[in-house]
């Protein structure tokens, strides 16, 4: 939570809970969002991330707990009086209005009324910002998916909201366009300095864009942190599994070594891993190691445990080759081998026995779910 602690807090969830009948959609969310921050809610569908966003927008009221914007409890404020704007998943553009009318809609709702010239000027500026300068008089249905997305963006930012909410805005775009929009969105956020809150189920999207990610699972916050923190130090099995890929292995702690621990695997090999939480000898733990945290060798290396496994599958991915190995006690293990390193393994094929090299300090002990 380093980010929000340093800067000014723009929004805060305090024990915010939402129930739909008997269904618990959000369970005691506690989260501070910093001014100017790009925060993502990441999780599979039904994890409560959209509910969190909709509560912030004012479409759902929390059943318990509070939501603060700029220090004020806005739990009772209807959506139309909140200083936030949303880019909807399917854009929700008004089909009976032109592009410019759509973008100017929020400005036309202001009371006291804004001057027509003023509205027109701001709409033109917003359309320029999203590079749709000449598209004002067009009808919505004349616009492509990517263009509609920009109209939706312009319609939101023209109001200069304190927080911009983005509900899976890139879900309907094809991969290439999505990557483009991600970069554009990011530079727009830096330029405007508005707090962006993105809801997505695409971890790549969250990792590449966010200052911080709030990982949600089963209606709860599983972990909050920077993309690097989440990737390098997942708090639990759920996060390790959801962000990137990880081999997760059970083991027993045999010794504490400062911030590390010696863990005995099911195959009776001892490995040295990070211990982000205090553990004691005898503790049963799960350890996670990324596929790129392991190496493969034709022979064992001195000082490292000698884990021998059989190649079950090799998947060529360009600059990397992904190996799937099978070990009688450890089960399946994924190892990511750079092409450069693969040259040291000539003649390897499915069925070949290889040595898995586990460098000291790679991998870490996970917390309980």
């Amino acid at each position: 939570m380093a980010y929000a602690e340093q800067g000014e807090v723009i929004a805060e969830f305090v024990d915010t809970t939402k129930r739909f009948g008997k269904v618990l959609a959000a369970d005691r969310l506690n989260l501070r969002i910093g001014k100017g921050e790009f925060l993502s809610f990441l999780g599979p569908s039904g994890c409560g991330k959209t509910t969190a966003l909709r509560m912030l927008a004012g479409f759902e009221a929390p059943t318990e707990g509070r939501i603060l914007i700029d220090g004020q409890d806005i739990g009772a404020e209807p959506a139309h009086r909140r200083p936030v704007n949303m880019v909807f998943q399917h854009y929700a553009l008004f089909p009976h209005m032109t592009v410019a009318e759509n973008v100017g809609y929020g400005l036309r709702q202001r009371r006291p009324k804004l001057a027509k010239d003023d509205i027109a000027a701001r709409v033109a500026r917003a359309l320029d910002t999203v590079r749709l300068g000449d598209f004002g008089p067009r009808r919505i249905w004349e616009m492509s998916g990517g263009q509609q997305q920009r109209v939706a963006l312009a319609r939101a930012i023209v109001n200069e909201p304190k927080i911009l909410l983005l509900d899976e805005p890139m879900a309907a775009l094809d991969a290439k366009l999505r990557a483009e929009m991600q970069m554009e969105l990011l530079s727009l956020q830096r330029k405007l300095g508005i707090t962006f809150i993105l809801v997505t189920h695409d971890q790549q999207e969250a990792l590449s864009m966010s200052d911080r990610i709030c990982i949600m699972g089963k209606s709860r916050i599983a972990q909050i942190g920077t993309p690097r923190e989440l990737y390098d130090r997942p708090a639990n099995r759920y996060v390790a599994d959801f962000v990137g890929r990880a081999n997760i292995l059970p083991g027993t702690v045999t010794r504490n070594i400062g911030e590390h621990a010696l863990v005995r695997l099911a195959s009776n090999h001892d490995v040295v891993v990070e211990a982000p939480r205090p553990v004691n000898p005898g503790d049963k733990v799960d350890i996670a190691i990324r596929p790129e945290g392991l190496r493969l060798g034709a022979s064992a290396e001195p000082g490292l445990p000698d884990i021998t496994a059989t190649v079950a599958r090799m998947t060529f991915l360009g600059e990397h080759v992904e190996y799937l190995l099978r070990h009688p006690d450890l089960g399946e293990l994924q190892v990511m081998v750079p092409r450069q390193a693969e040259r040291a393994l000539p003649g390897v094929d499915v069925g070949t026995q290889l040595h898995i090299l586990w460098d000291q300090g790679n991998g870490l002990i996970l917390g309980q779910d």
Binding site: F88, A92, H96, A100, E101, Y105, G106
Partner: protein, 283 residues
């Protein structure tokens, strides 16, 4: 099968139907309207505009039709819209189908029987008697324009409700969230999003009701009691009682012409609303 043959097969039956039952009779009526009444009644060939010159003598029928058809359409619209809105937006989806069935339940009984019921309700021993008992004075309802209007709204309400319901039901609810998100309170969201997007339903419903009302015969007959009559009633009178087929035909042709003009004007009005929205923007 060639494309041309497929087209004839598709259009053939309806085309024949229209030719035999619409175009041909219309042509006959047009020819008759230029003729004269035979001495013993019926039609005598002639080529005169005398019947049209005489239309003024039946002006009241046109006046009633041209006032009560639009007013009835408007009244039905004003009652149907809130109902359709409730059904499409506010009602519990679990009960929605049942409620929709309730709207069309009256259609299960003949309009004749239902109009009879209204004769009793509006007649001397019905609602007026009740009002008199409450000390509200002696009010006559049956055989007044009001009675005809009640009958019209009652009879045609479902025709208005359904097209509006469909357009409201199809409305993307996220548009209303977007409107609210952009700062519009609920009533302004209604005016700027819901209402314009339901206009096609309003147009369809109004056309349906208005066109049928222009040719209405039964309701004025039963609830207007010969005092409030439409062109349709005048036509029955001319063809069956006075047996003045030439004059009746002239009147029928005039009604078709009036209907064409009003419907065209209405369509142009609607498309102008749409065009105005394109140009200036809403509100």
């Amino acid at each position: 099968m060639t494309k041309a043959r497929a087209r004839w097969l598709l259009l053939g039956p309806a085309g024949l139907w229209y030719a035999a039952l619409l175009v041909l009779p219309l042509a006959v009526v047009l020819v008759y309207s230029l003729g004269e009444r035979a001495p013993a009644g019926g039609y005598a060939p002639a080529l005169t505009l005398a019947q049209y010159a005489n239309l003024g003598s039946r002006w009241t029928a046109f006046q009633n039709t041209l006032v009560l058809a639009p007013v009835g359409t408007l009244a039905a619209l004003l009652i149907a819209y809130p109902l359709a809105y409730f059904l499409a937006v506010k009602s519990n989806p679990r009960w929605r189908t049942a409620l929709l069935v309730l709207v069309i339940v009256p259609f299960w009984t003949s309009i004749l029987i239902r109009s009879y019921a209204w004769i009793f309700l509006l007649g001397g021993r019905g609602i007026p008697a009740l009002l008199a008992d409450l000390g509200l004075g002696d009010i006559r309802l049956i055989n007044t324009p009001f009675a005809v209007l009640v009958g019209i709204v009652y009879g045609y309400l479902p025709l208005m409700v359904f097209p509006i319901y469909v357009s409201l039901e199809r409305l993307d609810k996220r548009l209303l969230e977007a409107s609210s998100d952009l700062g519009a309170p609920p009533w302004r969201s209604f005016l700027q999003v819901t209402l314009p997007l339901s206009l096609p339903g309003v147009a369809t419903g109004s056309m349906l009701v208005f066109i049928l009302l222009m040719g209405e015969y039964l309701i004025p007959q039963m609830l207007g009691g010969g005092k409030v009559f439409f062109v349709g009633n005048a036509l029955v009178d001319l063809f069956l009682q006075s047996r003045n087929w030439a004059f009746g035909s002239a009147m029928a042709v005039t009604l078709v012409a009036v209907m064409l003009v009003t419907v065209t004007l209405y369509m142009r009005f609607l498309s102008r609303i749409g065009a105005a929205r394109d140009d200036v923007g809403l509100m």
